[in-house]
Symmetry: C2
Subunit: 453 residues, 2 copies
């Protein structure tokens, strides 16, 4: 019996993150201040981020050392296994070889702790006693709760109210890891109190939760803020995925032809593709595919422009593919992919033609996830199903052409807390509908203006 699991030892955890800024043909345009539209200065960010992360955000050094204390904590679950999906291959009768990098093995169940641990560490080093953040479905909140607990930092999570009530188990995880989780809007911030006074029954939104977390951080000297995707330093921390992958593919004696990730804010995709981008730009790398939901088609139907990072215009502007900060995607179950923008680095790559993007309706994505669960055993997160769908489609193309390609996708997380959505899918209750162009045009009509030289 051949071994289909490619496992590294703790020693193989990379000693440095790979900073793609060193190899891009042009710099990512600077983030801009939401009020003035002018490039952000480090001083603008100091009230909510530690210096070390602000430096990483703008660094152009190719390699940034991973502190030993971070590697030690990552070793709780890393290196993440690379697994060849032989049972899925057999089921598809494809000549392609399909591999997945299983980021679902982390304590919180996704790739998010890769950056949460690093961010908690740097905040601890900076003497920060407390971190505030927002969370939608709870993936990021639970990851940061876990990381903060490891370093003895207090963690306050503002969780969108509707999810707070609908997803009690992610909230339980946060509490298990010592975090305080409140439904947002809450009585704990000015912005929360104001919104509740106007509309006590509001279900909340990610935009409101961000506002509460940022206010909390900005108004407490001992408190910082942390973000789980989009920003350069977040994508940087995720490159550990692709760096491990390179070692594992060498063990498997493979060269990847097609590299796939699902794309919401972009951090899991960035993590797996960035270490391959230089090869792609040099014309000898794999095909890179971003797989996003048709309900939130940022790369496939959005515009490359400056836009606010949040939905209310309080967060800095970034130059990125966006559907407009006022765009409201329908309530698909892949909550982690419902973001109007895309990481600026990934956006630039897409603009440069280095990466392909495609979108899938959720029934197509769930169909792929169910096939995966029934062949490979693991139940994937609804977000991850988008990557699986693209991998299966590529494998089926190989079946037609007879090509024996090597396909690798990032298995960004498990679906143990998303089984309700599988019930809906299996009961035939998920609806797909075509997003009217008017919805996108309207939101794109409300883009802010940046003032960059």
């Amino acid at each position: 019996m051949q071994d289909h699991r490619f496992i590294l030892s703790s020693q193989d955890i990379p000693h440095a993150w790979y900073n793609i800024a060193a190899d891009l043909p042009e710099l990512v345009p600077p983030h801009c201040h939401p009020a003035t539209g002018k490039p952000l200065t480090p001083d603008d960010m100091k009230p909510i981020f530690p210096d070390s992360l602000i430096e990483q955000e703008v660094s152009t050094e190719r390699w940034i050392e991973i502190p030993d204390e971070v590697r030690e904590k990552l070793a709780i679950w890393r290196p993440a296994p690379l697994i060849r999906a032989v049972n899925l291959e057999k089921h598809l009768k494809t000549p392609a070889r399909i591999y997945y990098k299983n980021e679902g093995v982390s304590p919180a169940g996704s790739h998010k702790p890769n950056t949460a641990v690093a961010q908690a560490y740097y905040n601890k080093q900076a003497g920060i006693r407390r971190i505030a953040t927002e969370t939608g479905a709870g993936q990021w909140g639970s990851s940061l709760a876990f990381a903060c607990d490891l370093f003895g930092i207090e963690c306050k999570v503002y969780m969108v109210k509707v999810s707070y009530h609908q997803k009690p188990y992610r909230r339980s995880l946060m509490q298990l890891w010592n975090a305080t989780c409140v439904a947002s809007p809450s009585q704990d911030t000015n912005v929360g109190r104001q919104i509740l006074a106007k509309d006590p029954d509001t279900t909340g939104s990610l935009g409101i939760a961000i506002s509460e977390a940022v206010e909390d951080a900005a108004s407490h000297d001992d408190t910082n803020y942390a973000l789980g995707s989009v920003l350069n330093h977040v994508c940087l921390h995720q490159t550990i995925i692709g760096l491990e992958l390179k070692k594992q593919l060498a063990l498997a004696e493979e060269e990847v032809d097609i590299l796939i990730g699902c794309a919401g804010g972009g951090s899991n995709l960035a993590g797996i593709v960035f270490p391959y981008v230089k090869d792609v730009l040099d014309g000898r790398g794999p095909k890179l595919i971003a797989s996003e939901p048709s309900a939130c088609p940022t790369l496939t139907r959005g515009k490359y422009a400056y836009d606010f990072g949040d939905s209310v215009g309080m967060a800095p502007m970034a130059c990125m593919y966006t559907l407009g900060h006022s765009f409201v995607p329908s309530g698909i179950h892949a909550g982690g992919l419902r973001y109007h923008g895309m990481a600026p680095t990934l956006s630039l790559l897409h603009k440069l033609g280095a990466m392909e993007a495609r979108s899938y309706h959720q029934n197509a994505a769930f169909e792929a996830g169910v096939m995966f669960a029934r062949t490979e055993g693991i139940c994937p997160a609804p977000e991850t199903n988008h990557a699986i769908r693209a991998a299966i489609d590529e494998a089926l193309k190989c079946k037609e052409t007879g090509e024996e390609k090597c396909i690798v996708f990032n298995f960004s997380g498990h679906g143990h807390f998303d089984l309700y959505s599988y019930d809906k899918y299996l009961a035939g209750e998920l609806e797909d509908y075509d997003l009217p162009q008017g919805n996108i045009d309207k939101a794109l009509g409300e883009l802010p203006v940046a003032h960059v030289d």
Copy 2:
């Protein structure tokens, strides 16, 4: 950085299960017919089990070959990693070294698929098209659903009604893996219909669910029955855990001093300790510890006697430690440990003095589980918390004595579907109370009589 994860390759999956019957100083007394009290014949079992499993149930061969098809399916997640819990050690400031065998990495999240895959395979070989079983909280039902799906066997699960409604996500998992899951009592069997006619609002019980599954299997030619614990062949299939462990401890250059498992029906404990029992009987093995709940103290307060396998007297009698088949444990969250009996092989070992048993209240068990989640990152199943509690207590003893012992426990499963119970614990809402001796005496007064020569 030292490596604390001991990972084997697919080739290291054992080629044979270890049958402890070959090395016991006396034979496990035969199972007896529930109606006549006389030893069961193979013919008694043929209506519900395939011949191969009936043979395994009574075999005294030391090694029983694992079919290649079973090893291939086990390779979807096995070998399970052995991990040194360095963060827990540091937290406890113990000189002991603590290792755990992580059976939570299986698709269903526990050790149960180890036997589910084997049982599904042998039933498939015997031409069986369909398997019926019962499940309480859903661990066994979801494991069998997964295994049946791998071999293209239909699976019907009778799930205790109260759990069916309280634990919808385990039910979702079964459906994801193509099983049909109904609330028991159901309209699908005579026994179910009779009970519903008398009491339409009954919450159901494991005893009723077993009765329904056995009736289903016995009344359909193409259908067999499968059990997830207690029986000899089930414990046999679990020995893969201890066999892998031996290889991994050799890699770690360790010899285990104390080996621990939680004990409900006994299969995860049997799986990890059986391969060490011959050494124990020869006076040179590790200390073996069974950790059970104080609410269901089968080994610590039960009697070694013949008793029915189920709670209503329809299933065969086995010679084992029992609290009496009519004993009803309180509703602790470790549902998998709420069984009145104990695997006959483990029971014999305990009677022979080869294994120590202890019991813990659930607050003590959850305290250990929370400490584990906050140091090692993984949220354990409530059942597993009993093993963790015993491991921590042994490590704390080492702290007092300064002994550098090697402690290994079986991490039988993760707690992703049990977070509600953590909420209750963290809110201080779990109650511990001392089980009155009268409850046990009453149930032990109702033991059946076996007629063995």
